[in-house]
Every structure is written in C-alpha cells, then in structure tokens.
Subunit: 351 residues, 3 copies
Amino acid sequence: MSKSNFFEDFSLGQKIVHAVPRTISAGDASLYLALTGDRRPLFCSQTFASHLGYEDMPVNDMLVFHVAFGKTVQDISLNAIANLGYADVRFIKPVFLGDTIRCESTVIGIKENSSKKNGIVYVQSIAYNQYNEHVLCWQRWVMIPKSNQDAQVADSFVPEIRDFVDPKSISVGSNIVIKNFDFGSTGSSKRWSDYDVGQTIDHTHGITIDDATHTMAANLYQNNARVHFDAYLMGQTAFKKRLVYGGHIISLCNVIGFQGMENALNIVAINSGIHCNPSFAGDTIYAKTIILEKNNMQGRTDLGLLRLRLVGIKNQKPSSLQSIMQENSTTHYRDNVVLDLDYTVTIPKGN
Amino acid sequence: MSKSNFFEDFSLGQKIVHAVPRTISAGDASLYLALTGDRRPLFCSQTFASHLGYEDMPVNDMLVFHVAFGKTVQDISLNAIANLGYADVRFIKPVFLGDTIRCESTVIGIKENSSKKNGIVYVQSIAYNQYNEHVLCWQRWVMIPKSNQDAQVADSFVPEIRDFVDPKSISVGSNIVIKNFDFGSTGSSKRWSDYDVGQTIDHTHGITIDDATHTMAANLYQNNARVHFDAYLMGQTAFKKRLVYGGHIISLCNVIGFQGMENALNIVAINSGIHCNPSFAGDTIYAKTIILEKNNMQGRTDLGLLRLRLVGIKNQKPSSLQSIMQENSTTHYRDNVVLDLDYTVTIPKGN
Amino acid sequence: MSKSNFFEDFSLGQKIVHAVPRTISAGDASLYLALTGDRRPLFCSQTFASHLGYEDMPVNDMLVFHVAFGKTVQDISLNAIANLGYADVRFIKPVFLGDTIRCESTVIGIKENSSKKNGIVYVQSIAYNQYNEHVLCWQRWVMIPKSNQDAQVADSFVPEIRDFVDPKSISVGSNIVIKNFDFGSTGSSKRWSDYDVGQTIDHTHGITIDDATHTMAANLYQNNARVHFDAYLMGQTAFKKRLVYGGHIISLCNVIGFQGMENALNIVAINSGIHCNPSFAGDTIYAKTIILEKNNMQGRTDLGLLRLRLVGIKNQKPSSLQSIMQENSTTHYRDNVVLDLDYTVTIPKGN
C-alpha cells in the first residue's frame, strides 16, 4: 500500500503492513537528545542502564513511539483532517540500540459522518522488533475525507476504547534491579512515596520551537505528513505555516517534566492523549504535571506506578495558567493549552 | 595543499590528495535521514539489508557522494565562480557504516576563458575506502578566477565528457539476492516492468528548506564552501543570503522521488547534473521524475536499470509546471527549476 | 541536588555530585561535526587515529568539555547572573566513543559582594570516565544572586587562580606515535617550527549562527540553562532573544581556526577564557589566532606545544579589526569581540 488512503479505502478488520522497517541506532538516540533536550539517564548513560540490569542501552520510549507511529502515517493519516485521539498505548518490551522496528495496523472501527463527506477510522497498531516480539501497541482514531463523495461505505462499528491501561497489566522485566538505582545520577532522591495524588508540579523550563528542529524530529521518525514540511502548501491554509508534529510536543513536555520527576524510570503506558491546539515555530512550550493516581505494580515491591497528567502550554508560564479549560467549560481547552496527556510511569519505591 | 586554489594554480595532469579522511558512522546515517527525510529501506533497516545479502548496513549512496565531494571543495572549488556540471558519476562499491573515505583528484582538462580573467578546470575524482578500493568516481568542471590577472596558463585541453554511463558497465555485487526483496518493506509492488519510457511522475511531497538544515547538511559533508555558511559575506552579494549546497537539493529531490519509485534499490550512476537555479532558506522543493530509458543489467535477470530524469522545482507544484525550459528555449531553464539530474538506478525485475 | 542553587546554598569545601552521567556515542560525534563544521581528522577518521596509535576513535576534546561542563549547569550556574571566567582547564586523558562521563565539583572559593545581594562562587570541577579516571578538570567562577536577601553567608575565601597551565605538566599518552602522522590527511605540512611567537592568523571562514543550531548544540551537551532555550522568557529581558551558549562560540572559533592550524592535534589546556560579549542567532562568527608561546613537551621530541590566543569576532572580518580592545582601554573589549581564549595545543615537530 504505497498510496495514501481515503475514507472509502478502509474496511473493518483490514490489516495493513506499514512500509519501511527501521533500525534504531546510537545516532538516532543522539538526535533525539539534541532535538528535545532529554536528560533521562536510562537513555543516555550506559553505566546507569547496566547498574539496573539492562543488558544494553535501551532506546528512549518516546523515540520508539514516534518511530513506530511514523510508519503508520503514510497509510493511515496522510489525508487525515484531524487526529482525534489515541489510547491504550502500552510499552511492552524495551527496544535496544540496533533493534529494527516494523509496524502493522488493523482497522478496528469505522464510522461515516452524517455529512457523508468523511468518516472516522479506528486502528489498532502493533510495533514489532526483529524477533517479531511486540514492543509497543496503541489505538488511535482519525477523521479522513472521502476521495469520491459518492463512494458507499458499508461498515459501521465504533469500538470500545479503554479509559486507561489497567495498572495490573503493566510489568517491567524481572531483570531490572532497582536496589542498584543510582539517585546521584538523576539528581533527585524523590521516590514513589514522596508524591501525593492531586499534587501539581509547575515545571519552570521552557523550550522554544524552531522550524528546523521540529521538521528534523519528524524526519527522524520518518513521519512524512505534509503539514510538517511544506511551507508553500501550508501558506495557502488558515494556519499560514508548517504545523509542529504533535508527538514532538509530547516529547518536549516530557523533557520539561523531568524537573521534579527525575526518578521516573520508564513510560509504561499512555492512557489517552489530546493535542488541544496546534503549535508552530516560535512558540515556547511549558508544562505542568498533575499526579492522578498512585498504584502498586504486580509482583514488585521496589517499583511503583504514577499516573500523571502532563499538560502542555504555549507562551505562558504554567504557574500563571488559571485553568486548563476555558471558563465555564469542561470540554474546551484554553487557546494556549497544546497537550493533555494521561500517562503512567514507573518510579522506585524503596532503596 | 591547504590553501584554496586559483585558476593559475592548476595544471594538466596534476594530482591532488584531498584532506580529511572521514569515517562514516551510524550517527552520520541518522543525520542524513533527519536532514532530508529519506525513507529508502536499504539504508535504514538492518533486516532489509541482510535479507538482500548485504553483510552490514550500507551507507546511503547520496551521503557517500556528498562526503566524497565535500573533500574536494577546499582544493578545487572554494574560489569557484560557478560549478558548471558533473558527469560520469559511478557508484562502484557499497560503503558500509564504519568505513573511512578519502579522495583524490586529477586535473583532466584546463581552458582559459577569452577574458583571460578566469578559466575552466576539469577534474576526475576518485573516492577510496580504507582498503584502497575505489568506491565512487566522478568528473566535474568549474569556472575559477585567476588570483593574478597576469599569470600565464600554458595548458589548454578540453576532455571528452561522456553523455551517460554505459549501462553495460554497471554491476552490483553478486552477493545481492533479489529473490529475498521484501516489497512489504518499501510499501510498493512496482517492478522494472511497471515503468514505461517517457512516463512522468509528479511527486506530491514538498520540503521547505531552513538555514539550519542546509548548513548542517553541508557541515556533515565537511563541505566548507563559504557561500553556504557566511550570511555576513553573502549579504554583500546579489544573492543577499546563504546559498543552499546544490547536493542538498539533489538529496531532497531524491527523497521526494521515493514516492512512486519505492523499489529503486541503488543509485548506480549519475549521468549528468545541472543546478539550474540557486535555492535559499524558505524555498519549498518539489520534484518530478521522467523515465528516460529502461536497460537490462549484464549478467542479471533479477534486476533492471532505469535511467531517470529528476527535475527539482521550487515553490510550484510539479503538476502545474508547463515546461522545464523557458518558452521558446531549449537551453534556458524556467526560474523555479533548480535541478536537472540524469541518473540510473537498479530496480527488481521479478520475484 | 536537583534544585538549582542560590548564593547562600553554597559553602566552602562543599562537594557536589552532578546528575546525569553521559555515554558519548558516534551519534554525538556526528552531531558535533554537523553543528560546528569541525574537520580535525583525529576526530572524524578512524584510519588517522589508528595510525597515530589510538586504540579507538577519540571524542573531540571540545565535545568532551561541553558535555562535562553541561552537567554542572543545573547545580552551579542555572541562576547565575554572569559566568565570570574559567581557568586551569586540563585535558588529562582521551575520551573514546562509548565512554561514559560523569562530573563532580568542589566549592573552592566564595565571596559575597558588597551589595550583599549576590556573590561569587569558585568551583573546581572534575570529569571522570567509567573507570573513575580523571579525563578533564577545570575551575570557573560565577556571580550568583541570593534567593533570600537576608541570608548570612559566613565563608569568604578567594582562591588563587593560575594564569596558565604549566607546559611541564602537560603530557599525551606514550602510545601516540607522531612518526606516523599523515600530513596528507590534514592538508597542511606546517609543523611547530613553522610558527613564530607574535604571529597572527586572520582566518577567512565565517559561520552564521541559527537558533536551531545553537539550541541543538546546548541540548547535545545537556546544558539546560534557560537563556539558550526560552525565547518567551528572553523576550522580556534586555537581550530580547535567546542567548548562544558561550561554549558553542568556542567551538565555532576552534573550527574556523582549523585553517592555518591544520596540524594542531589535541587541545591539552585552556589557560583562561572570557566571553566578552553575547552572541545571538543571525550573528556571523569569525576568528583570529595569535601565537603566544612555543614550548617543548616533557619527554617528547616529536611533539611541541603552541599556546594560542583565539579571538572570536562577530559580523566583521578579522583582517579589518583594528584592535581587540576599545580605544584607549586595556580592559574593555570592542562590542563585536565575543571571545578571548588562551589555550594550548600539541603539534608535530618533526617527521
């Protein structure tokens, strides 16, 4: 499937093999770091990773997500009007430098809109490593126009979408040994027990986006959506300029959120994610983290789970943001809120 | 030879050893991908390359070209008034990650212009790997000013330049096994037999250039021509701004041309190339491919050759370009045509 | 220590373990090259390094410096009003691709300013590899505000700062074999004996800085000083825009200084360094080198030392700069002088 698809090209149960498997190298890891400012030690320090029992350098979980997600763009969302959301993102196995990632999707839902001009397609995607092991899976749904307005679309099925990934289903390898966790390497001694549900952290770091950095990031992920690259095309739209890949905003917010969450080890799930407003070159991104839940981890006393709400804000300090939603609304985000992400991380309990 | 040369510094038969051998690493491959958006699976997927019989990850052919070419800039073209053309570019052996490339040139032609203020120098360049094997060779000719207007230049010889590389001279390693070619990895099932001579493909992807990306690309290739880096200097010229390295335009057009040519495996020759007009930051590059010739490959039934004309266009969709040349002209390109490249690729025949 | 520190948080003799150890990979080396344009063969050619006796690819000395320095920013200078200077920077052991660098600092001086609103903190920092060997050490001093104006600061001690690193203390590994130095790889045959004390080299190459490149460089070094990244914040300051990391200017000037100093092998010491004026995106950097001293090296007849003054200038050709200091001043730099660096390099004597 090398042509991008329109709404009528999808059918329920359809299986799509996405093109271009990708070997993730140390070069990709360095670029991720240079393009985002990431400082999580698990992904930049061989000694830190080895002490925890990793046999090799793991690849940043968000880099794995972006590479896997990028493969689906050509087939799923190149023609999308809107990326409506994603859910049930589960990071199943670590990916190591040198691993090769490929991706397949299945259409799990399809619903024509009442206008009959477009519809919503729901897909379940799975990323595999070179051993055909599942490393990552997720669901997302996008609004896609018809190419031919008269095309008949027979299927209509809206799948049930999980509100969040069940903490009981989350595990990390038994080889991971938290008693060797080096708190000097993260710069913080805060453990699972030091966070309270409802607590808010207004991160102070801000990152201004440039066209070169967000397009290099999208290129690195081989995400070839035209809106990120083609200023001539975008100049003819209401946006007037290239749109930043939403996943780049997730990465920037995650990097900003390192401050105060230094010992969060792995992202194990993204429960849901909404790109509330678009971002452009010149925008400065800030973020705040709200602790939503604290959970134990099946079979482990050394690691706990934190379910976090990561809110991305542009061109305003988080501490001065009065509310995430517009006044008197529970559904409309303020204009400068760019991300509302619900995700789950592991964090040491004891030691 | 560490000083840049003027016209009178060259002589027929002169041999130049270019400085700074370069080991090409996975980091370079990642940067090439991030700076161009390349998606050719041979160069980003270990599994794809292994299935075809490559013992290791090959380096993108255009990255090899740029690195080799970059070495010649200091000695050959730092003072050039114009890069007039190149021809007979042959990709002889694959370069693998970890290989070290060095480059030598021989002056094969020299001709003073009638003004006596400058002249044309023709060079044959050869890139070697660390085993002293030829990996790439090419010819190019540049117009270079004299430093001393009174300098006498005795030599005058204009070499014969091949119109195109003889398809019979092109080979790929006998270890390359096309029966294992994975068409799922490229996203297209189109083979050699699916293309027709004269056929035109208007690629839809467009890439806007930023100053940071084109200068990083030139840096990556250690191409130190001042026109790409020095905005202060360029502000005093008619261009007013930094000039994009012409090779970067070739790469962008090649990446854009992936759509519709997904199974083109190797670039085996560049028959001729002209940078018709300059490009600058802010320009959006598009491309069209015209199938010029179809040829068999000596000793192989599984691979064929396509000779392609790759036309780069800026700030206009290829589908709306009425002609490549100006009206009533066979020699003058339209103002927004930036590249006219004639090159040859391998592509699977059967399987 | 994960919070950034104010003046009253420091005390004499205090030892600080900096967060986030960092494995330096081939990806980092490629990015350094792409962001600066470096062409020093020791750091980009496996064959050049092997011929000299290096067992593996060494990491560019300035990249090591920036990575090590970057670790100290969070604890030492995130709140700094000014980076006043550094000295006694010694490159003790080569760092190889794959090595992991961590960093510790000791407060060696502290002095409250008469205003009692801020003070100067002097630190000695040491970078270690994964074998706990010293690879780099340096001193620097910064002016830091108090958080609480009423805080009492008892300590007051100003350490003696060395004017320059004693040439007698400088060594390179005995495994380095200069008789195999390949002058063809550097493009110059100039040895130690070809330079004269007092000689000035006006380098002609200029490099224009873009926001994307200087922020990627700071990210690569995990230097998280807000002034480099946050245009929203900087828009509210007198600078109006993001400030370029001073170390990036050192790198650019070092790269520009390759021309004419092609055979300078290692940077072995930075004797002192001053960032005379800030740089911003859009500035074009030039440089001149002045030979300050020529010294022999203990126990070696094949390598000599050159002590160099590297002067960085923005938006003006070095050849047209009449003086480094303002007229009738010995302490005030001209407005477009951005760097005054005193450093020592090794260079082949014979062969």
